[in-house]
Symmetry: none
Amino acid sequence: MSRPYLRGEERKRQIVEATLRLISRDGVKGATLNRIAAEVDLTPPALYGHYGSRRDILLDAMRAEFEMILDLHHSSTNPNALERLREISLNHTKMTEEEGFARAFVEFIAASPDEGLREAFGATQLMLVEDLADIIRDGQQQGTIREDVDAAQIAWMLACRAWTEDIASLMGIAEHWNRGRSRVMLDHILDFIAAK
Amino acid sequence: MSRPYLRGEERKRQIVEATLRLISRDGVKGATLNRIAAEVDLTPPALYGHYGSRRDILLDAMRAEFEMILDLHHSSTNPNALERLREISLNHTKMTEEEGFARAFVEFIAASPDEGLREAFGATQLMLVEDLADIIRDGQQQGTIREDVDAAQIAWMLACRAWTEDIASLMGIAEHWNRGRSRVMLDHILDFIAAK
Amino acid sequence: MSRPYLRGEERKRQIVEATLRLISRDGVKGATLNRIAAEVDLTPPALYGHYGSRRDILLDAMRAEFEMILDLHHSSTNPNALERLREISLNHTKMTEEEGFARAFVEFIAASPDEGLREAFGATQLMLVEDLADIIRDGQQQGTIREDVDAAQIAWMLACRAWTEDIASLMGIAEHWNRGRSRVMLDHILDFIAAK
Amino acid sequence: MSRPYLRGEERKRQIVEATLRLISRDGVKGATLNRIAAEVDLTPPALYGHYGSRRDILLDAMRAEFEMILDLHHSSTNPNALERLREISLNHTKMTEEEGFARAFVEFIAASPDEGLREAFGATQLMLVEDLADIIRDGQQQGTIREDVDAAQIAWMLACRAWTEDIASLMGIAEHWNRGRSRVMLDHILDFIAAK
DNA sequence: CATGAATGAGGGTTCATTCAT
DNA sequence: GATGAATGAACCCTCATTCAT
């Protein structure tokens, strides 16, 4: 009637956003075609005009989430790599607290194996860790980070800290693994790698 | 006919084991009554003779898993609390590698929110962390662990390391977050808290 | 344990009472063996020690209800048959208002045909109407009721009034078909048959 | 394949008709989705394409039945309101005898409370009684019905007569509360209210 | 007299997907 | 690009009943 057909790309963006919203709220399992369709004011079969299957939608949503994390990694432009890591990490804390973001991220870990998303998710996770490792190597070149640390090792520890934040928030125990403790852990890591 | 009735407690144990097996393999979502029943050679309604609902079965499975972790925490009897922590942590690594164990544990994090298991899981998680903190306090009293560290903070960091092991295994990226790196992180933490 | 086995007749009475209670509250359909058993603190199979089937329990409950109505018919000992009818009818109104009674009665009408209770219920209903007709014939003999009215016809009309009271209560519209209107209808009937 | 898709409204009509048929035969409890679907040659889930739940189907069936009664009320166009009431009432008797009609109507009274239909049914019943009361007031204005009777009271008594017809038919005792006696009751009421 | 274990039938409902339009 | 109708599979759960104990 009054709703005009949307151009393909715009509709896809709409669908992906709705999907991430649903995943954050109800988990991957809760992101059913019925609900996604309702969210974008379409009928479920209409989704097949844009994606080949529910799995494709989920994968695209995962890609979008991945890009949001990448954006987070570039949210700081501090020339000092060490400080950049700190700012990125603190930004992560902030975004986790602003419920919504990163929530979907953890849900992908939680995705039922039969959704077949875990492997794909593992791959994106590797890229993100590698991205952090690049920053660390950057710092080693500029002299703000000790040259004798294993960049990948540190990147993983930072990622591990971020996961824990997300998971704690997800389980409703964010009061115990709180901003303060998360910060202490971050300081431990950064102190350890800081060039003296 | 030929299948003898099992006594209640034995049947419950059987059901819980089957459930954990299914959760490890297919996630919480995959542990359906149909499959659980098939696994123990019963019809789905028969499960209601032992549990009030699917949720009750899942909760009991969670409790069983919780007790396995508690057992893990007492798997070392080293009188030196610091070394006890090390042994417990390394045992965790070993068990994670022997696919199966702890896998179900992570699946509970991943459980769809509508299963209503996360809060319950968060509670057990808190208990486990507190259990680790007790060991740390133990070490502080016996002088093997620095008195000026926050026991809870350290316990969380150890838990965080364990989670990361499980999650990495789950996502199929255990090659990158491997035994070696996990060990390095452990050493970092223990070196930091060791009494000089 | 502490609960001694009950003598057969007492247990049956207990079961029947529980059944009527459940029927009043949840309808015939709601009087399941599970609930009846729970109500008398037994397991469902134990009921088979006293009755051959659920249907038998329901039939016995119906018989008990029938006797309660009979008691109602003899709740007045007024020697004047016309006044006896009035008192009986007003007592019915009172009992209907005291939610609980007669509720089960109507539920038997409502019983799903596949319960196979309606025919049995029709038979008891006939007996009750005939019982009222007897009172009317009594009045005709003693001269308080016109001799030219059809006793059965009037008995039915009185029964009809009683049903309407029950049904209106059941549908939650007792405010509209209320005590006053029910009373007016009663007066119509009794005025009509009163000997001049 | 060979079965063409039915347009929505037509399918809904088909479903409602099948539902009323089943309710007449097997009661509200007997109108299961399985049976309704089989009756219209569909699978049970297909019904959800037309109604949101079983309850919605039942409510729609109730509405359809309500409209049939309304039609009955307008089945007579006799200008004399008193005679109109007589014709309507006699038509009701006739329809009750033609097994099928009104049968479903009574079943709604009988619906298990947990179906949650009784309140809704009570509301429609009120409308029907009010509809009859309007005819009575009509007669009072045109002078065919005494001005000093309570229209609502009389309407209820007429409804009560109709219920009794239905219920007697339902219980299989229509031989006792038969056309003749029902007619006598009708004459009583109409004689009473007829203007002299 | 009563239980505990189990069953087969059936209940309402949700889901991803297909197909004709 | 989107819909409306329909499906098959699977979901959790309740029921009356049976049988061994």
